[in-house]
């Protein structure tokens, strides 16, 4: 269909007009803004590497979102689970051996911490039917505050000046895999996670169960599954992904625990996964897309081409554009197809 009066087109026109108008009001040149964004994200090495680096945690978390949302379970609290996983891993890091085994254990602790934090919401959901939207939001606030306390209290560095932990042992750091960049072995972890998740979702028994629970919980019960338990469990599982992402970030990038090292990743991960309709194979693509967006917008911010809030406007607008584009192919003449 190439008719131009489709509603998507109005949406796109509105959003673009809003952004262009705002940029013009700021006295900037929209083309220059666009060029700055695209150029840094796609045509500079640093920009692209920066995006690639951010793709790693967003991919891992996006996969966790895909799993839980497929089961109809809305894990809005990945940020808290990420904190819990990171904190547990860093707290126990001093007792870990060095080398590959140590790194594996470090990541496993991240998973365990995230899973435990998600599991609280899971348990409340499975046992008491408590809605996960509330519990995961609340648990994120709790985790944020506890982190604030940990890095000023029990886990603060020895100098006790800056609110952060001591660095973890160098032997627990994920090695850089591309010389001269910060691309670390966490990249491989993400690749592995994508492949494993995709297989589970597309062909696995577990993925099938998640889908049934998400699409028709009564049918799941009929088929002999326990929908409440599965829904509760998937919160722990997706929490594990968040914890893994946190551990990878610490082991691969920051080397220590501190506040605010994964700002808003949990929310971004939801967008990452939903835009590709929870398809694990496409999650890394979407994560890269969002990371490039951030890198590009970062460059606009760096050059201070426009006042900062305008960058938020562009960010929102681009997500709206992603959305409008994502519904375009889905819309076919009315009545010809239902949700399928």
């Amino acid at each position: 269909m190439t008719r131009l009066n489709r509603p998507e087109v109005y949406g796109i026109v509105f959003v673009v007009a809003l952004v262009v108008g705002a940029i013009l009001v700021a006295g900037a040149n929209p083309f220059e803004v666009a060029r700055a964004a695209v150029q840094r994200a796609l045509f500079t090495r640093a920009g692209f590497l920066e995006a690639l680096l951010r793709t790693v945690p967003l991919t891992i978390m996006g996969l966790g979102i895909a799993l839980s949302f497929r089961a109809g379970v809305f894990n809005i609290g990945m940020d808290g689970q990420l904190i819990a996983g990171s904190a547990l891993a860093v707290a126990l890091a001093p007792w870990l051996p060095g080398g590959a085994a140590g790194i594996a254990l470090f990541l496993a602790l991240g998973i365990a911490g995230g899973a435990a934090w998600g599991g609280i919401a899971g348990l409340i959901k499975a046992r008491l039917g408590g809605n996960e939207i509330i519990t995961t939001i609340m648990l994120t606030y709790v985790a944020t505050q506890l982190l604030s306390w940990l890095v000023r209290g029990p886990m603060q560095e020895k100098m006790r000046i800056i609110p952060r932990s001591d660095p973890i042992d160098a032997a627990l750091r994920l090695p850089v895999i591309v010389e001269g960049t910060r691309i670390h072995a966490g990249f491989l972890v993400a690749v592995l996670a994508v492949v494993a998740t995709a297989f589970v979702v597309r062909r696995g028994r577990y993925g099938f169960k998640l889908d049934v629970v998400g699409q028709n919980a009564s049918a799941a019960a009929y088929a002999g599954m326990n929908p409440a338990a599965i829904a509760g469990m998937v919160l722990a599982v997706s929490g594990g992904f968040a914890g893994l992402a946190g551990a990878v970030e610490i082991s691969g990038v920051y080397g220590r625990l501190q506040e605010g090292f994964a700002p808003g990743f949990g929310i971004s991960a939801i967008a990452v996964a939903l835009v590709v309709r929870l398809n694990p194979w496409l999650v890394p693509v979407s994560a890269l897309g969002f990371s490039l967006l951030y890198a590009g917008l970062g460059s606009v911010a760096q050059k201070a081409l426009v006042p900062f809030p305008l960058i938020n406007i562009i960010e929102g607008a681009v997500v709206f554009l992603f959305l409008a584009a994502s519904v375009m192919p889905a819309r076919v003449p009315a009545g010809a197809k239902s949700d399928g």
Partner: protein
């Protein structure tokens, strides 16, 4: 023409911490032949990338505003010897190209505490911090010591908002301190400071500003401001870069460097005894002469 980037953790409109840095760079812009870029709202996770990209762009100086810039700067500075990195409100330095500037927040708190104690009738004063980051903790400590110096029986309340931007909660915490009897309050952080001042204004108690001379915001309420002139740091850093005197060391700016100070007591001189007024003047003098021993 030198090219300078100022990297801020928050928005330039916060009215305190980030606004101050922006003000400093604006001042420097007028004085020197420099090209300036200001980057706002830099998340922790982005810091390293942001610093690198300015360095790669060939900026002569990159200023990170906040202690959280210290570590990323230390990580990367060696890769970019042509760029001078300055961390503001932190104390790090490294050859050949890392310097830091800090203000004596504790001294500022000390002054604020002393003034507050003298103006308080109830003997209770309060400090509302955003989040206990190092400089805020220093200020908090100084506030208490300064108050006790003037009136040892003064009771100092202290509480934290848990956020730099939650202005409403900042106001409520202040209100609760007022309910507990505090009649002079102060606060540190970003937007939350505005909340404190508004709460004081509504409850008709007194407040002491921090950082910016904020008397204009509430002339009936704000006795004075414990100035923390973070703009001076920036101005100074730029000046030293231009004249080639910037060294890889930590510059801690006290009252004598204009790093901190006490704003005039506009209209409030008459509200305390001449004797107390003299004690304030004496305190400022002692501080300048280094005679105070219990500074944080």
């Amino acid at each position: 023409t030198k090219r300078i980037a100022l990297v801020l953790p928050g928005p330039i409109t916060d009215g305190t911490f980030n606004s101050a840095a922006n003000k400093g760079i604006e001042a420097a812009k007028k004085k020197y032949d420099i090209d300036v870029v200001v980057r706002e709202n830099t998340d922790f996770a982005q810091i390293e990338d942001v610093l690198r990209s300015y360095a790669e762009d060939g900026f002569d100086m990159v200023i990170g505003h906040g202690f959280q810039f210290a570590e990323p700067v230390m990580n990367i500075h060696a890769d970019y010897p042509k760029t001078f990195f300055v961390v503001n409100t932190a104390q790090v330095a490294a050859e050949p190209n890392v310097a830091s500037f800090d203000n004596r927040w504790g001294d500022a708190g000390y002054l604020a505490g002393a003034v507050a104690a003298l103006y308080s009738k109830t003997g209770k004063i309060g400090h509302v911090g955003a989040i206990p980051v190092p400089v805020i903790e220093q200020y908090n400590l100084g506030f208490e010591r300064g108050a006790k110096r003037m009136k040892p029986e003064t009771q100092v309340l202290s509480a934290y908002v848990g956020s730099f931007s939650d202005i409403a909660r900042g106001a409520e915490i202040t209100t609760s301190q007022i309910e507990q009897g505090a009649d002079v309050v102060t606060s540190t952080g970003n937007e939350n400071v505005i909340g404190t001042i508004q709460a004081a204004q509504k409850a008709k108690v007194l407040a002491i500003g921090t950082a910016f001379d904020s008397a204009a915001m509430a002339p009936e309420t704000i006795i004075t401001t414990a100035l923390i002139n973070m703009d001076v740091n920036i101005d100074l850093a730029v000046g030293k870069l231009i004249d080639g005197t910037l060294k890889p060391e930590t510059y801690v700016l006290g009252i004598n460097d204009g790093g901190i100070g006490l704003a005039p007591l506009r209209g409030f001189e008459s509200k305390i005894s001449a004797e107390d007024k003299a004690r304030i003047d004496q305190l400022v003098k002692d501080l300048a002469e280094g005679k105070i021993t219990d500074l944080p």
